[in-house]
Amino acid sequence: MNLRNMKVAGNRKIAADTYELKLYTGPDFKTSPGQFVHVLVDPPHYLRRPLSVASISRDELTLVYKTFGEGTKTLAGKKIGEEINILGPLGNGFTFPEEKRVMLIGGGVGVPPLLELASDLHEMGKSIHAVLGFKSEQDVFYEEELKGFAEVTVVTEDGSYGKKGLVTEWLDDSADIFYACGPNPMLRALLTELEIPGFISMEERMGCAIGACFACTIETTDGGYVNVCKDGPVFPKDKVVLP
């Protein structure tokens, strides 16, 4: 665990309301796909913002965020050379598969964490099919980046780009295992659809992001509970009850 100021190396728009933020990590910042960082934003916004690690290379950490609310909007104003306080890496990332044929499923800003995962899986020699769902053409990002590691199917709700519909309508039947990251309704639909084993990455509003405040607690299928921040955000598909 780690708390440090990181200098902005880049912060550019890559799709509608979607930005790619590159940060110099400084030495010894190690993370694995599926982990996230907790990002301090400007006052009067008080809570940090949890954002997934999209990719990491030597001393550069890449985050991709959508400006939903005011806090991420202040992030979009950060210029090269400014510093951002980062807590992380946090949580448990994806467990790598035994299986050969892997399907990655990303919805909207659920796509970024799949990039580093795809890169690692590619190195391990897996066959990867990434199915990415977006609202509309202008929201699409990381298609090209993922193509470096995977076969990519882009799905848009309005059909303005790639296939039309929801990701659940364009799943790959030949996959042995899946990794999914996206909004809860998408995850819920996947769980009823897919019989193969898989991992899902969950989103909950967070306070501490280290397991100390119980803001992000969800029920487990065995009647217990887990904290998404510390025990997740990635869980085996049948471990947790989707809220």
Binding site: Y46, L47, N85, R205, G207, C208, Y225, P243
Partner: protein
């Protein structure tokens, strides 16, 4: 610079401790710093049985603050004793157990079990009393007296009562608790607030309302402590929006004998050791030679002097 002090049950190295519920049972922040640095450790609320708490979303952000509706989630008093306390026992820092319940009997039972394992208990009386139709123990002086008296009978250690700020007359509540036997007060718990999700036209928190905390509420905490201080002779642990050593001093001057830091831990995980490091310099800057000297310093000289504030 003398930061140490003795309060009922507590030998404090310094006046800075976590606020209950913002520090779980200590393990997480122990990855960032040595818990022996803290004045005391205050645990998450304990109830009789394990509680899952409210559905999510449980937190929302507000200007200079946050709302929470965790719903007293905790593993239950027995698990706390067996699973959580052994870790905290590896530190020399005094331990305070925060105790919650929905009936007087539950408060008694939890106190009976937990109090022998800790240095003090903090009674969280902001819980709704299910027997009395859900009104909070903390907003009715008679109910508060009753639960304090009951808990005092069971507790093996001093009892601090954590007051709710959602009242017309905080002084009345404080005096009622002192008369019922409280050894100290904690002030303040959160103010009840709400945020509405415009997209869905309903309250954002699954629980509808939540407790407002953070810098936004600091002026209310300071006012309440200042108001209560001259009327009680038991010490006050002050909290509500503390972020800096200067804030700690402001609470001491208002009448607190020690302070707790809650929400600011989420903002800046290293905040407590930072405050502790900065405190001697800040006391010196304002011409003070000890924490003790600062306590109640903003009051006129002629107020009734009290045991924990000279």
């Amino acid at each position: 610079m003398k930061l140490s002090q003795t309060l009922p049950g507590l030998k404090l190295k310094n006046p800075v401790m976590p606020a209950s519920g913002c520090f779980s049972f200590g393990k997480e922040y122990a990855q960032f710093y040595d818990l022996n640095r803290l004045g005391a450790i205050v645990m998450k609320a304990a109830t009789k049985d394990s509680r899952f708490g409210n559905k999510t979303p449980r937190v929302a952000e507000t200007s200079s603050g946050m709302l929470n509706a965790i719903g007293l989630q905790n593993p239950g008093v027995d698990n706390i004793i067996n699973e959580e306390l052994p870790f905290l026992d590896t530190f020399s820092t005094p331990k305070i157990a925060n105790i919650a319940g929905s009936t007087t009997e539950e408060y008694e039972e939890v106190t009976e079990k937990l109090s022998s394992h800790v240095d003090a208990v903090e009674l969280n009386i902001s819980c709704p009393n299910v027997k009395e139709g859900g009104i909070q123990f903390g907003t009715d002086p008679a109910l508060a007296s009753e639960v304090v008296r009951a808990v005092k009978r069971k507790s093996k250690v001093p009892v601090y009562v954590k007051l709710s700020p959602n009242v017309s007359d905080i002084k009345g509540m404080a005096v009622a608790c002192e008369e019922a036997g409280a050894d100290g007060l904690s002030m303040i718990n959160t103010l009840t607030g709400m945020q509405i999700l415009k997209e869905k036209r309903k309250p954002l928190l699954a629980n509808n309302t939540g407790g407002l905390s953070g810098p936004a509420i600091k002026p209310i905490a300071i006012r309440m402590i200042y108001e209560v201080y001259p009327h009680v002779s038991i010490p006050i642990i002050g909290m509500g929006g503390i972020e800096t050593a200067e804030d700690v001093l402001e609470f001491l001057l208002a009448g607190a004998s020690a302070t707790a830091v809650g929400t600011a831990n989420f903002h800046q995980p290293l905040i407590m050791p930072e405050i502790i490091d900065a405190l001697p310099g800040i006391l010196e800057k304002y011409g003070l030679s000890s924490v003790h000297e600062a306590i109640g310093g903003a009051h006129d000289e002629n107020i009734a002097s009290s045991l924990y504030s000279s």
